[in-house]
Amino acid sequence: MREFAELVMKLGSSTKTNDKLEALMHYFNNADNKDKVWVIAIFSGRRPKRAVNTTQLATYCVELVDLPFWLFEESYHTVGDLAETIALLLPGNENAPNTSKPLHLYIEQLRDLEKQAEEIKKQFILKAWKEMNFAERFVFNKLITGGFRIGVSQKVIVNALAKTINLDSSVIAHRISGNWDPSTITFDELLSEHSLNTDFSKPYPFYLAYAIEEDVSQLGDPKDWQAEWKWDGIRGQVIKRNQELFVWSRGEELMTEKFPEYHSLAQVLPDGIAIDGEIIPSVDQKPLPFALLQTRIGRKNITKKQLQEVPIAFFAYDLLEYNGEDWRDRPLEERRSQLEEVIAATNHPSLIISPIVPFSNWEELARLRESSRELGAEGFMLKKKQSTYQVGRKRGDWWKWKIDPLTIDAVMIYAQKGAGRRSNLYTDYTFAVKDGDKLIAFTKAYSGLTDKEFAQVDAFVKRNSLEKFGPVRTVKPELVFEIAFEGIAASNRHKSGVALRFPRISRWRKDKTPEEINTLEDLKQLLEVYGK
């Protein structure tokens, strides 16, 4: 456990990608094979089942250190991470000898614990804490609470593995995505050169684009580029292999069961195919707002009514595998024309080709972009016609060219301390618009201010608190911010009647007074135009 804990600490504290890569390589070169499989699993988002819930964990901790539960909560609020809070509260054990067991043993024991009585769980946890130092306790708690997000992308892990076992990084990326069970697979089965790819459901790692910052005319000759609408859905891959259909989301979740609309594709698609595209609700080949898609994802059982009102389609834009062959190294042009052929031949109502937008010069494309929102798109994807299909987020061949967000001016009325990174500052705010002489809260927004601005707002909050409800402070409505967002939908869970998509603070309007902010009526008009 100690090696793993040290790895996590190192990854969490190093600021340079190269240091992270080295730490991972060092680990993969030295660790136990069984542990390595779990490390790959954990860092690619597969964690063991939660055998003990967070409340139990917190309760064992406060009993052990004899602190009131409210004080635990205050501590948690400052730290922003439950696993770390507990590790900080437990009595020091730094000079104790290394008595902890290997990582995979703890994980196996945790798994076996699931059906045990509460008292046995508790004894196990207390004993484990006793065996560990601070870093080990932190990662052990993290295994239980989940959410191992420590600043290391899948790409870095893939590269570290590629360097340690001498295998091409795209092969590794492909093998570790998809369906495999860390408790049964061995390291060699997962990654060795000769291992057969037994899991035929696996999607390819997605090729992602950065937002273009410079002027698009800098991209060169428009003839070399292909423009597609950028859809606001869920990125996904439709795969058919061994006569079986799989639908994957970019979060590497297998979503086949969620979308019955796709099921009949298993009969009509050719075998040995992988199509990249967007999972999106659509009627008459036109996309519906993202908020509607969310009504489908959240449900376990889908009703007939939902299938009628929010039918899901797949807007296809790339072909990654055809006839069982990996096509990713072929130029986009070639992939595209084959894709068009396949989709025309398939002729399925839910499989739609995402159209190419013809243009002869960049000015023309800029004008076309103005109509994005009416078409339910959020701008363009610009792809070089000669581009191969790469792994991960890359610059150069593919770019996102999004439209400017919608904005509204609002006043801050509540503030709350941030979690994790900003755990000592008031950084989470709730904003309101005017409704006559009342203020109506309508959204929370987090990012978008500089550290210096956060410090200024934090100081304001501390001086101008009106009331305190738990961690939330009511603040004198004085600071005005511009809130940017990508979409708007009707919502009866919100008092304002609207819910925003990706709201964020775009700037601090020091030039505006609370009297000058937008009104609820303004929000409703935006809803009328963009939310229906």
Binding site: S14, L67, L71, L88, G420, R422, S423
Partner: protein
């Protein structure tokens, strides 16, 4: 009328007609320590410990100062004032006030562990104790300083191996001096930022024996800086001033580094949870040892801390003051680019 009142200018002793660490200009100020949020500009008279005076003079210029030793009484209108070591920084003192048999103690900032230069914190029995609570949460429990020093030293050595400069961010008054001895065990190439240098020289001129440091100037050469240690205040973080040290690693010395997210947020290569304030157990111990009937908690986690004390049979109240968080350097000391 209580012996100390909480007014909008600061802690006021009406019977003696003086203030302690006032935040608005007053006629008579008793100063716990020379940090800028406790010792402010504009008072007509300053009473402080011998070791605080040279730093005050350096920071605030000519003024009327009176300096005394620990446990050396001064009387104002018959109110007896004595100072006791607070262990926070050089010269830092608790202020004990006695009038007609009633005793109050103002802690200023303090820490329990003896850092070798600030004096050993001394519990003082009193009826009312006004305490800071900067780290008044049980997640703040410091490692013994020798362990932290070892961590810092190992970090410097590791940087030296790859010819990198070790930039340590530390408060220019307090931690900068405290770090000198452990650093000097690893290297004699110690460079400091101008803000640290000014305080260093004020102390050296007052007779303090501290390991030698050199001020970073535009003439400081790349060669000299290889493998060296640089001590700079937090205002230097992320500033262009740091560029001259490349390649360098940056390590922040602050109690806030106890929480991982804070080190990450500052984009530091290393965080050392070294503090000049008492940790949770230190605060509790100090409050208990005063045997005070009432504890007043100021700057920090005062709401949490007072609630905990009250639940544990110690009468405590929250008080709002205008002292800052001096684990981070205040804006007043923003860099003069040299």
């Amino acid at each position: 009328m209580p012996l100390i009142e909480f007014t909008d200018k600061g802690l006021y002793c009406r019977a003696g007609d003086f203030y302690i660490d006032p935040w608005r200009p007053v006629d008579k100020a008793v100063i716990t320590h020379a940090h800028s949020d406790h010792a402010r500009w504009g008072n007509k008279y300053y009473l402080c410990h011998h070791d605080t005076r040279p730093i005050l003079q350096q920071r605030l210029g000519p003024n009327t100062y009176q300096d005394i030793a620990w446990n050396e009484p001064v009387y104002m209108n018959g109110v007896r004032i004595t100072l006791f070591p607070a262990g926070h920084i050089i010269g830092s003192s608790q202020v004990r006030i006695e009038s007609n048999g009633e005793i109050w103690v103002v802690s200023g900032d303090y820490k329990i562990e003896n850092d070798g230069i600030s004096g050993q914190f001394e519990p003082v029995k009193c009826h009312s104790f006004i305490t800071e609570s900067t780290f008044g949460l049980p997640i703040y429990n410091w490692k013994p300083q020798t362990e932290i020093y070892t961590d810092v030293q190992n970090w410097i050595r590791k940087n030296q191996e790859v010819s990198k400069t070790s930039v340590l961010i530390a408060y220019s008054l307090g931690k900068a001096q405290r770090l000198l001895h452990p650093i000097a065990e690893v290297t004699d190439k110690i460079f400091v930022h101008g803000a640290v240098y000014n305080i260093h020289m004020a102390l050296v001129n007052a007779g303090w024996k501290l390991p030698a440091v050199q001020r970073v100037t535009p003439e400081t050469s790349k060669e000299e800086l290889k493998g060296a240690v640089v001590i700079a205040p937090s205002s230097a973080e992320g500033s262009p001033w740091l560029r001259r040290f490349a390649p360098y690693e940056i390590g922040i010395c602050s109690g806030w580094m106890q929480v991982r997210g804070n080190a990450r947020r500052k984009n530091a290569d290393a965080g050392f949870a070294l503090s000049d304030h008492a940790d949770w157990n230190g605060l509790l111990q100090a409050c208990r040892e005063t045997e005070a009937e009432c504890i007043y908690a100021t700057h920090g986690f005062q709401a949490v801390f007072t609630r905990y004390l009250n639940e544990h049979g110690i009468n405590a109240k929250e008080v709002k003051t205008e002292y800052g968080d001096d684990e981070l350097e205040p804006a007043e000391l923003k860099l003069e680019e040299d």
